[in-house]
Structure formats: structure tokens, C-alpha cells
Amino acid sequence: MQTDLLQEARRQVEICNACRYCEGYCSVFPALHQERFFSDANLTQLANLCHNCRGCYYACQYTAPHEFDLNLPKALAEVRQDSWESFAWPAPLARRFQKSGVMIALTTILAFALLFLAFRTLGAAGGVGFYAVLSHSAMVAIFLPAFLFPLASIAVSLRRYWQETDGKPVTPSQIVDAFGSAAKMKNLAGGHGDGCNFEDEDRFSQARRHAHQAVMYGFLLCFASTSAGTILHYVFDMPAPYPLWSLPKLLGIPGGILMVIGTVMLASLKLKADRSLGAPSAWGGEMGFILLLFLVALSGLLLYALGSTAAMPALLAIHLGSVLSFFLLTPYTKMAHGFYRLAALVRDEQRKSAG
């Protein structure tokens, strides 16, 4: 990891530790105030615990032009970004994508092309519905590795994170508490419940918290929808397409709508927010990732709406292509933050229970 980023974060948290005014905002400060000297591992954990709510920045009496020049959300965002790059496997891929929206777009377009090519060369092999464009077995042949590879990659990264931060064996209650915090996005509530500072300087608002939850729950619903479809296909021998009153649709349609709304909100909030309070170099990659999620959700909804029209094959290629790109890039885009964040929350529960 980059020592200059760590050194700057260390300088800042030592000032925070002498002040402590922000203790109630989020999980970062109680964890910070428990230390006296900050190892690289401490800083990595604090950085991944930080949700970038920015409450501490706007409350801080030591931000520029003060000579102490504190900007903790930025310092932690840069360490966090750097830590993801250093934990990612294989590492060269991570460096390419995390900071570059252009690279994400190129991958997505390549994925479209791959799907179109697959439609041409592999074809239907006698299927109906979507499978008339590409056979089920061809889809599985493409998507199974595209799903398993990122999971393996993330597993390697999390193991590295856990070793770096000296994580202990995990107990069920730690998992419950960490997931509970994520489920309510407690760390974007500002401690007082008024939300975070993002789109309008020091005004507290729930906008970002709600937008994030729309995307997160929307994504989980879509994931559940796909899982339900897989189970119906293999266990109950009920292949797609599914009618409206079926589990995949009942989960997938609201999920897709939530994701579309959430990603549009996140992108618009991100355009209003001050870029210098995050990792400026990662802005393009983050925005690219939001747009990719938007594309996944929108193309999925359109595919449902226009599935019986002539537009279907093209929409299917776009949807499957964006999903493929999303899967493959999961370990190397902002998507990885969800895994690291949960790991940091579990690690923080361990700190709390150790007293």
C-alpha cells in the first residue's frame, strides 16, 4: 500500500484523536479513539469502516484554510481505495478498473459484442423464448464461470483483508450485528438519525442513505429473482419465460425498479457533492459503476416489457452483456466495497466485544 496515503491518514487521525468532537457520528470514531498509535492495519480498518458520510468534515474546526488542513473523509477514501487495489486478485486488473469509468464502459461493450457473437455462432439449439436466441446451456456455459470467478477473487481479497487487520474467528452474533448495521445503513444516519452531509454541504439529508438502500435492496431482489429462476429451472423443471405472477418476476420487477430509481438518485447526488471529499481519482470509476448498475436494471425491465417484440434479441444481448460485465468486474469496481464494508463492520464488532 502507498505509504504517503497512510502517512497522511495517520497525521489526520492523530489530530482527531486529540479532539474527539465527532465521536457520535459513526463507527469510525469510537474505533479511532481506542487507539493511541496507528498501525497501517488500524488505518486500513478505519478506512473501510468509513462510509464517507462527511459529517466529520463539515463539523471540523480544522479544515482548510486552517493550517491543520483536515479532510478525514478524503484521507480515508484514498487509503480505502488503495487498500482495495492492494488486496485485489489478480492485482493488475484491479488497478485498471477501479479508477476508470472508461474501462468499465469498454468492458461492457466487449461483453455486448461477445453476447452478439454467441447468438450468431451458438444459436438457439431448439429453445423457446430467450432460449430461442441463445440456448440455456450456452448461457450457463458463459455465466457460470463469470459468476464463480469473481466470487473466488473476492474470497482471496477478503482473506487478505482479514489477515491484514488481524481478524479473529467470526461468531454468529458479530455477523448479525454487522449485517444489521448494513441493513439500516446506520453509518449514514449521522448518529442523530438526520442522515448525512453530501449533496448540499453541511445540510443533513437522508437522500444518499435512501438511494443507497434502493440500489442495495433492489440488487438483492434481482439476485433473489435470478436464484428463484435457477431453482425453478433445475429443481422444478420449469424453464423461463415466467409469467408475471411468478417468483422470479415478483422479485425481479420491484428489484429492477428500485435499482433504476436508486442509481439515478445516486448519480445525481454524486454530481452535486464536493468531489474533493472523496478519492478524486476514483470518481470516474465510481460513476461508471453506478451507470453499469443502471444499465443492468433498465435493460432487465425493458426486456420484460418488450420481450415479445422484435427488439428482444438486441435487448437480451444488452442485458446479458451488462450483467456479464457487472459480474466479471465485481472484484475490481465499487461493487467490492460491499464485501470490504461488511468485513470491516464484523471486525469492528470484534473490537467492541474485545472492549
Binding site: 492523530e14 489530530i15 484523536n17 486529540a18 479532539c19 474527539r20 468532537y21 465527532c22 465521536e23 457520535g24 457520528y25 469510537p30 479513539h33 493511541r36 459529517g55 466529520c56 463539515y58 463539523a59 471540523c60 474546526q61 480544522y62 479544515t63 482548510a64 484554510p65 486552517h66 493550517e67 491543520f68 449521522g190 448518529g191 442523530h192 438526520d194 453541511d202 445540510r203
Partner: protein
């Protein structure tokens, strides 16, 4: 010329904002003239962290109860009786209704901070500290239609017999004036004016650091005193504590405090000790050390501890100077080597049984047989590495201010000024004749800010 504003408020900190919101809620058109740029708005309020509040039962973040009697007793202890009892009791009694009012106007509280558990009953901590309170109040004030001018430097209030008739100020490089029907001054003390401080204190004041805003230069205070507005408080005195000598000249705030004196020996630039470092627990002694250091050559002191004491106190902003031997430490700190070694040797030899050492209470572990004893926590300085901090006098605020009555109204010898009120640090000398009680400055500012806002709005209507 008639002004477009009913009320002009000079200053942009807690007291000014409380006055502005109160007056605006009563329908007055209010303008705030803040001398600082937006980034530094809020005066000393931006460095505060809590509000001392009377309460008969648990209230918001406050546990148990804290009654008027106990609160007033605490005030008497720190001021040595130098207070105006009527005003003090007014501030104390009104503090209880202020807390919910503050919440209604956007302030959020948090549980007592780690390291400050002793204040959990008496002081309500602002979530994010004073700057977040200031931010919330500016948002609320602007919603209420209050206008705010930053970098508006008021130079003169024209006093004509018993009325302020005009405010002269500069803004965006131009001389301007206002003629509001009422004026509230809430522009703090004069501690940032080093020349004035030097006149009051003597040349030593040049070496003082100012813990808070560089914008409290006392321009309006001097202007009003020059026109015969009645004053209160000792003009030669300021509240000063010992802080890290490496702190910036202004605005170092909370992080420059050093809590290690009770576990140390403190020497002057000749490497001689000059006072009992273990006289009492630090919260009760930190204020006298500002004065003690101010009386030493070059107004500087040096705290020396050894490794066994390093983690007994709150971390501060700058890491200590570290050395493996006392000679090396003396070299790094610019102290005479031989004398530092000698001073430590003499001190160490005077230490006795240290088995009763207890860092958080008066433990009676004391020295014997030396001229300047250490009466608690006296353990030899003998376990390397050794650590040192420099100490300087850090001025919090000045006591000289405007005398006010229960309505926060100012006066001259011939009686009340019909349209001038004062709130906050500029009148706190009425209640705090000396000493300081944590969180009481914000109480005075909130209580008298609201009174001044109410009275000024009544006058304007």
C-alpha cells in the same frame, strides 16, 4: 436614511445567532455582521463542545439531575465569588429551557465524549462540536430570513445620548453604514488584539498563544468603551491555560491541550522546577498553569515525563519529543543539559514510596525534602525513553466587557442605552469575574443571546 433592517447584530457566533433567530421569529428583519470569512464564521463558538445545563431530571443527553444550588456553588468555586448573583442565577435557571430550544433550532447532542465522563451529568455535548452547532444555527437563521454579511468589519457605533444612531462598517472594500432601530453586540472579547493584550498584561503577552478565533479583536468593544458605555471585569486579566508550545498562534483549539502535567516535572528554560505539578487533579489546575508559565522567562515551560507515564493522559495534537537519555532530551529541547540532569536527580531522590500511585485521584504519593514539593503522583523520572513537551500560555478569552442588566441592555453613566443590547463573551465578565466553568460560556451566550434578541425585537416592533 432608514435602514432596511430592524436589527443589526454584530458578531457571528453562538450568542449572535441565538439573538438573530429569536428576533427573526418575532418578526424582525435582522442582519448579522460577521467579521470573519464564511470558513471561519462563528467566533470562539466553533471551538466549543458543550453546554452546561441545569436540569431537575435526566434531560436529553444529560443523566441524573443538576440543580440551581449546585450549579451556582460550582460557579462560586471557580470565580471565587466574583460574579453578579442575579445575572448568574438567571443564566443558570434559564439554561434548562434552552436545551430543547437548541434542539428545535437544529442542534444535535451526543453522549459525553470518551475522556470526559466527569461531565456527563452537567454538560450536554454537541454532536460534532461547536462548528456543527454554528452550521445548524446559520441554516435555521437563514430559513427565518436573517441576512448574513461575512467579512463585514464594524468600525464604529455612533452613540447619540441614549441611542445608537448609526453603524459604520466596511464590506467588500467599501465603507458602508446602517441605521437599524436596534443593535445587538455579540462580538466577543479582545484577546486576538496582541497590542491591547500587551497594554493590559505587559510585554510577556507577545508570547501568548490565542486558543480561539483571530477575529475577536475587540474593535467594537473598544469603540463603545471609548464612548462611555459601562464596563465590567478586570481589564488586565484574561483566562489563560497552559497548552502545547508548538500550537499555532491562533485557533489551535481543543487539540493543543496537554493533560500530562500531573505525571511530570515541569521546568523553565533554565531547567529548574517552579511549581508543585501534583497540587490537584488536572481539570482543577490547568487554568493556573497558564499564569505560572507566563511568569517564567520567555513565557515558556517544559514538561518532562518518562515512558511509564506516556499513556496516562489524553493524546494531544503533536507527538512528544523523545530521547533515550535526559542529556539527549535536553539537547533536543534546547535546555541546559547539566541542570536538567541535576533537577531530575534531585527530584528523583526526593520521591518516596510510590506503591500507592493512582493516576485518577489524589494519591498522596509525594516528595520530601525539596523546596518545591510535588504533593501527588510523585514518581521518579527514570524509565527511558524520556518524553518532553513545551508549554506556552494559551489565552481563552478576556474578562473586560460590557455591563448589562437582566434584559441584556447596555448603559452609560446616565442610564440605559435605549437600543443597545449585548450577549456572549462581550458581556460574560458580568458573570465570570475570574476563572472558568466548562460549558458556561455557551450557557451565557445562549441565555443572553435569546434575551437580547427578544428585547431588541420588542423595541423594533
Amino acid at each position: 436614511m432608514t435602514s432596511q433592517y430592524d436589527i443589526a447584530i454584530i458578531g457571528g457566533g453562538n450568542a449572535a445567532l441565538c439573538a438573530a433567530m429569536t428576533a427573526a421569529e418575532k418578526g424582525a428583519k435582522v442582519v448579522i455582521l460577521e467579521t470573519a470569512p464564511k470558513a471561519y464564521r462563528g467566533g470562539n463558538s466553533r471551538h466549543t463542545r458543550n453546554f452546561r445545563c441545569m436540569h431537575s431530571a435526566p434531560l436529553g443527553p444529560l443523566v441524573d439531575g443538576y440543580g440551581e444550588h449546585e450549579y451556582f456553588d460550582d460557579l462560586l468555586k471557580v470565580t471565587g465569588g466574583k460574579t453578579d448573583e442575579t445575572l448568574a442565577r438567571l443564566a443558570i435557571r434559564t439554561s434548562e429551557e434552552c436545551l430543547p430550544w437548541m434542539e428545535e433550532h437544529g442542534v444535535r447532542f451526543q453522549p459525553s465524549l470518551s475522556g470526559t465522563l466527569s461531565l456527563a451529568r452537567t454538560n450536554a455535548f454537541f454532536m460534532g462540536g461547536g462548528k456543527s452547532l454554528v452550521n445548524a444555527y446559520y441554516r435555521t437563521a437563514e430559513k427565518l430570513g436573517v441576512s448574513v454579511l461575512y467579512e463585514a468589519n464594524v468600525t464604529n457605533l455612533e452613540l447619540d445620548r441614549d441611542r445608537i444612531t448609526r453603524i459604520d462598517y466596511t464590506h467588500e472594500g467599501e465603507a458602508k453604514h446602517l441605521e437599524p432601530s436596534a443593535v445587538i453586540v455579540a462580538s466577543g472579547g479582545f484577546q486576538a488584539d496582541t497590542e491591547w493584550l500587551t497594554r493590559a498584561w505587559g510585554p510577556a503577552a507577545k508570547n501568548f498563544l490565542i486558543r480561539g478565533t483571530p477575529y475577536n479583536r475587540g474593535v467594537v468593544l473598544a469603540d463603545l468603551l471609548g464612548q462611555g458605555v459601562q464596563s465590567v471585569g478586570d481589564p488586565t486579566q484574561c483566562h489563560a491555560v497552559a497548552i502545547d508550545g508548538r500550537a499555532p498562534k491562533f485557533d489551535g483549539g481543543i487539540v493543543t491541550r496537554l493533560d500530562c502535567v500531573p505525571f511530570s516535572i515541569v521546568v523553565n528554560k533554565e531547567a529548574d522546577r517552579f511549581y508543585d505539578e501534583g497540587e490537584d487533579v488536572w481539570p482543577k489546575r490547568y487554568a493556573i498553569w497558564g499564569r505560572l508559565v507566563a511568569n517564567q522567562p520567555d513565557q515558556i515551560g517544559y514538561v518532562i515525563i518518562d515512558s511509564k507515564s506516556l499513556e496516562l493522559f489524553m493524546p494531544s495534537v503533536f507527538p512528544p519529543i523523545k530521547a533515550d537519555t535526559l542529556e539527549e532530551l535536553a539537547g533536543k529541547m534546547g535546555l541546559p543539559e547539566a541542570n536538567l540532569v541535576e533537577t531530575v536527580k534531585t527530584f528523583n531522590a526526593a520521591c518516596g514510596d510510590t506503591s500507592g500511585f493512582h493516576p485518577t485521584e489524589l494519591d498522596g504519593v509525594k516528595t520530601s525534602g525539596i523546596n518545591i514539593p510535588k504533593t501527588n503522583w510523585a514518581r521518579p523520572i527514570d524509565e527511558p525513553p524520556f518524553y518532553g513537551y513545551s508549554l506556552r500560555t494559551g489565552v481563552t478569552f478576556t474578562y473586560l466587557g460590557l455591563k448589562v442588566d437582566e434584559n441584556a441592555q447596555c448603559s452609560t453613566e446616565s442610564g440605559p442605552i435605549q437600543n443597545l443590547w449585548a450577549a456572549g463573551e462581550i458581556m460574560a465578565g458580568s458573570i465570570l469575574g475570574q476563572g472558568y466553568l466548562a460549558g458556561f460560556g455557551m450557557t451565557i451566550g445562549t441565555v443572553f443571546g435569546r434575551i437580547a434578541g427578544r428585547e431588541a425585537a420588542n423595541h423594533a416592533n
